[in-house]
């Protein structure tokens, strides 16, 4: 990863913490705020309480999460690439790298890619939705 790091939204699914580009989150809704495609379980795991939903910008989908822990602006040195073997073995391209949060590696998730991967094969993207092939 290069360039100035974007602000990251930190959230929790089950026992695990994740980060995502805050710009990819249109808003944070309470659980069951409205009818839409809701991702309740993914490779991130399944939330235990699903207290809120991250509405993914341009995707008309939301990801159910347990907690939103805030926004971090990481230093460039805190953003790390995945170890090469891990990058070669992951079954999802939504895991873009890692950010060190208080010294702990935390997966950085590309939310549009995550919801795109979970969409049934053959379904068309929503109008205006960026294509994350």
């Amino acid at each position: 990863m290069t360039g100035a790091p974007p602000p990251l939204l930190i959230f929790q699914v089950g026992p695990s913490r994740f980060a995502a580009d805050a710009a990819d989150v249109e808003r944070i809704d309470p659980a069951r705020a409205g009818p839409r495609d809701l991702v309740e379980a993914s490779c991130l795991g399944a939330p235990s309480a699903a207290r809120c939903e991250l509405v993914v910008r341009g995707a008309a989908s939301a990801l159910a999460v347990d907690l939103v822990l805030g926004i971090r602006e990481p230093a460039p040195d805190d953003l790390r690439a995945l170890p090469e073997l891990a990058a070669a073995c992951l079954a999802s391209s939504a895991v873009r790298g890692l950010v060190l949060l208080d010294g702990t590696p935390t997966p950085v998730i590309d939310l549009p890619t995550l919801v795109c991967e979970l969409r049934p094969a053959g379904s068309a993207p929503e109008p205006g939705e960026p294509h994350h092939a």
Binding site: S16, F18, S42, C43, L44, G45, R80, A81, L82, P83, E84, L85, A86, A88, C89, L90, A91, S92, A94, V95, L98, L100, G103, T104, P105, T106, P107, I109
Partner: protein, 161 residues
């Protein structure tokens, strides 16, 4: 996370193989000692989404993020324990730098290359194809792994795992 370094201080003859021995797959396995950078005690791991079972997580070590390889799970065996006593050998195997999780770490052993025997046709979980030989020392039998080829196979098996 603390770590200790195994210092290779055993004099070697030209016909001796310097191997690094650890316990996994229920037995003693070894690979070329030159592949090993150090031995680390594992702290908490970060699980990666969509990772195969043989990659139970990553950790930060001296500013570097390393993936942990559980060889047992690569061969469909019970996962190696990841408790507070878990240790791993940090190795560079071909293009990959990984921490190979072990049941226990013995460290350096020196084997007369002439005493190396051909590998058996059968080994736990199908590991025989990654063995280059077997030998005996005072602690018993050990099998010699082609670690770079094993790690490469781990990458190639990502879908099946």
């Amino acid at each position: 996370m603390s770590e200790g370094r195994d210092e290779p201080d055993i004099p070697s003859g030209a016909s001796d193989a310097q191997l690094f021995c650890l316990r996994l797959l229920g037995g003693r396995y070894a690979f070329e000692a030159s592949l090993v950078a150090e031995v680390v005690r594992l702290g908490p791991l970060t699980r990666l989404p969509a990772a195969p079972p043989f990659l139970p997580g990553v950790f930060s070590h001296r500013g570097e993020i390393l993936a942990v390889l559980d060889v047992n799970q690569l061969f469909g065996m019970r996962p190696l324990p990841l408790g507070a006593a878990a240790r791993a050998a940090v190795v560079r195997a071909g293009p990959w730098k990984v921490a190979v999780l072990a049941e226990a770490i013995e460290g350096l052993v020196e084997i007369d290359r002439a005493a190396l025997q051909p590998p058996p046709a059968e080994a736990p979980g199908g590991a025989a194809e990654f063995l280059t030989g077997v030998a005996r020392d005072r602690r018993g039998e050990l099998a010699v792994l082609d670690l770079p080829r094993l790690v490469d196979a781990a990458r190639a098996r990502r879908i099946a795992a």
